[in-house]
Amino acid sequence: MSALMPALPLLILVVGALAMMLVDAFVEEKAELALMSFWIFVVAGGASVGLWVTEQVIEVPEVMSLYLATDRMSLFFDIVICGGGAFSALLAGGYLKEHALERGEFYVLLVFTAFGAIILARSVDLLSLFIGLETMSLGAYAMAGFRRTSARSTEAALKYFLLGSFAAALLLFGSALIYGATGSTNLAAIGTAISSGEAQLHLAIMGMMLMIVGLAFKVSAVPFHMWTPDTYEGAITPATTFMSVGVKAAGFAILVRVLLVSFGDDLSANAETGWPPVIAGLAAITMIYGNFAAVGQSSVKRMLAYSSIAHAGYILVGVAAAFRAGEEAVSAVLYYLMAYTVSNALAFGSLIYMGSRGKEAVSFEDLAGVGRRHPAAAIPFVLGVLSLLGFPPTAGFFGKYYIFNAAVQAGGGFVWLAVLGVLTSAVGAYYYLRVIVYLYMKQPQAGAPVAVPMKSGYVVVALILSSYFVLRMGMAPGTYLDMAIAAAAELVA
């Protein structure tokens, strides 16, 4: 039993999800599945924290350690993904009930998706990587199309599915090439093969590029982002929340792992050749495109979708800098993902909170004047967008600061990447401020329907929790920073 300890969070999730299916089927009263899934996430995340704190060295059977990592970084991502799942569960608890979509499958799907995400984040083998990716993606496709009667939702799911499958195919192709070049599917063994010169380098590089493309789809980096705005907008908001935090976090986790573990050698990772310039280029166009495209949006949800693309760009800056600023850059990426999870949960949660039955708040116009009529509902939204904008003293500010710090410390052309990053964040300020403008400085058009915040304890709890973390991680980031550094140190060492 103790040998399975490192996989405890995964077991909790999968057992919990199965239990929920039974509860959903046999309990008449539509038991509080939101609450149940929330607790499943909390317990699973808590188990990871427990594993982190106890620091036990457990003999892990080879059958597991060959496929799943049990290092600090995986525990870190367990916590981030479970956190994102917990927020999404709470938000769904309010949203689904309010908009008459209350069906138990959502929560089961959510837990399974998170399970897949954790497998993906933990995988140290191309096989488990693919299994994790598909488990996660299938759940996410289904969640995106959860509102079956809506054409937008179906379109969202279909687009996500088609492009996602395409990306998965590229990734699989890349894996095949890498296997062919190195004779191994284990990430560390691939790394050894490449650095020892046994591998066929041109094939391996080709495979690496294909894998980068496949993963860039998942993290919605430009130019592989096309599905993101439509899917994020069309999907029900709690699903969007999880896609933008949990799925993205898992994508970045495996991207960092593959690049540093398998392709961390001097040839594949230096400023001129290999992946760093590729990732840096992706980061640059992602930051530019994401921010500028978000400016013109009239729908807040779509704006947040583009903002999520822009944030992928910032995180990629950290990934690109990782080849030189090592531990610092990786810990910056980890910290940013955590900060982004709570900030985005807060922003999407606030958006959910603004809409009541039959009147979902989607566009900027819907927000007009809410700050005057319902001050308590507007404040979390302001906090959320300020954090996404990267304004002190919020989590987003510290995350951004730390990412750009990593880029500046990496030196060379990365300083310019950081400069580009801050300039595009200034563009970002424009559309994030529009939220505040509409909340406080505009009044709804005469005759336009007036947004009334919903009444849901779940959403309120989610907003309070995420507000707390946004402020906590901004003002006293010490604990979280230490965690990120410890997790990164193990990977880079």
């Binding site: 005057r372 001050p375 300020l386 304004f391 002190p392 003293p393 500010f397 600061y401 750009f404 710090n405 500046v408 410390q409 030196g411 300083v415 950081a418 400069v419 801050v422 300039l423 964040s425 200034a426 300020a429 424009y430 401020l433 505040i436 403008v437 406080y440 400085m441 505009k442 980031p477 010490g478 920073l481 230490d482 550094i485």
Partner: protein, 541 residues
Amino acid sequence: MNAHLLTLLITLPILAAFIVAFIPRQATGTLRTTAVVFMLVELFVSYSLLDGDYTTASYQFLEQHEWIPVLGISYKVGIDGISLWLVLLTTLLTPIALYASWLSVDTKIKEFAVAFLMLEAAMIGAFVALDLFLFYIFWELMLVPMYLIVGIWGGPERVYAAVKFFLFTLVGSLLMLIALLYVVGLYEDLTGVYSFDLEELSRVVIPYGTQIWLFGAFALAFAIKVPMFPFHTWLPDAHTQAPTGGSVILAAVMLKLGTYGFIRFAMPLFPLAAHYLGPTIAVIAVIGIIYGAYCAWVQKDVKKLVAYSSVSHLGFVMLGIFSMNIGGVEGAILQMVNHGISTGALFILVGVIYERRHTRDLDEFGGLAKVMPVYATLFVIVTMSSVGLPGTNGFIGEFMILAGTFASEALQPWPQIFVFFAATGVILAAIYMLHAVLKLFWGPLSNPKNENLEDIGTREIIAVAPLIVLVFWIGFFPGPFLEKMTPSVSNFITSFQQKLMIENQDDTARLLPGSGGSPSAVAAATARVVVPVAGDQGGEG
């Protein structure tokens, strides 16, 4: 008590904001009074800052705690003869501005009070922070309340003005953040540990080629805030749209953070770049003086006129700073305070007629002296201060700056040319201000709408009176004010010159020895590279 005085000054307004937030919305009277009373308490507390020992250049009321030790970020606050006056200016003007606002702001009283209190805390924090990370946080934190004050309680174009203000400032400060990270990175390369401590970072010798970029980023952030020509375009918009209290704080205090940033951060960190770019900046400052004055001359909107006059006046301040001698820099610091006082008073007074007529168009007025004699008198007094009439505070500041520039070695070979053009600005100031006074108060009472205007009320006089007292106080007795800043200013100049000398000799990246960045430590470093220490830097002002 004394050990935590600065922390108390930062936290008191925040605490007050929380208390105000829990007062019921309907109790408007209580809300208004509570906020002002808290600010007066703050003013009273800040008065004990004068008890510090300003005969030395070292920081007073120093307080330091670790904050994020992994990254060398600490909570470090302290005050010297330079920031002392700016903090006092802040604590004096914030209650006045809020009190004056209560005459006009009547919607969402609670939010307005909270925004003002948070703004006060952030401004004080920015003036006393000695850790650059902390400074950056306060610097950014100021933006949000001011953005809301302009955007919610402002005029018809308020959203545009607020967003423009926010974006301009943000772009500058973000680039400053990158430059800051770069400096910290250099420090880390040299020592192996991170630090954001200003005194520690000042020890880094940065190669000229790098320094010029870093200085550029810092200078851009501060120049936007000052605002220096050509980055001033946000200012007229923000000023005209902001409510009276917002304009007062914006002009009187927030702009000073830009000039203060040059003295406290940009120049000590990058002396070599500051030295070589100094004359260029001085030229831009002089252009700003004249350009601002000309723009002010042609304005029909009184508030816009005052806004452009700020561009002109702050050009003087920048010129004084870059003259790099005691007279010029002291004049610049005094002029920061003076500008706060006179422009603050002007904005309050302009607010008075705007309240009565809901227009600020000069053509709408004329002959007001007949119906509003007291108001006219006060306005003229403040105008004289703004113009720099001898006997008022403006005269002392401008005279010191011009005298300092005249004797400046930093602006060689012809500092006189700077003085010549800057002095034109003084004349232009007289022209545009007296032009406004003429249009407002003299001539026939041609517009019938003005015939029944009430004279200035007691409450408005209460708001302006302390400022008028200060106009004459500083005008007649500038000694005590200058006395307290002299040691800090001379230390600023000598450390600057010494570090400049070292960097001129050899600017390879390295760390100067010495702890605490005291002048003697830097002097020791100078001695070590066997360079004669610079002699007397410039004359008296």
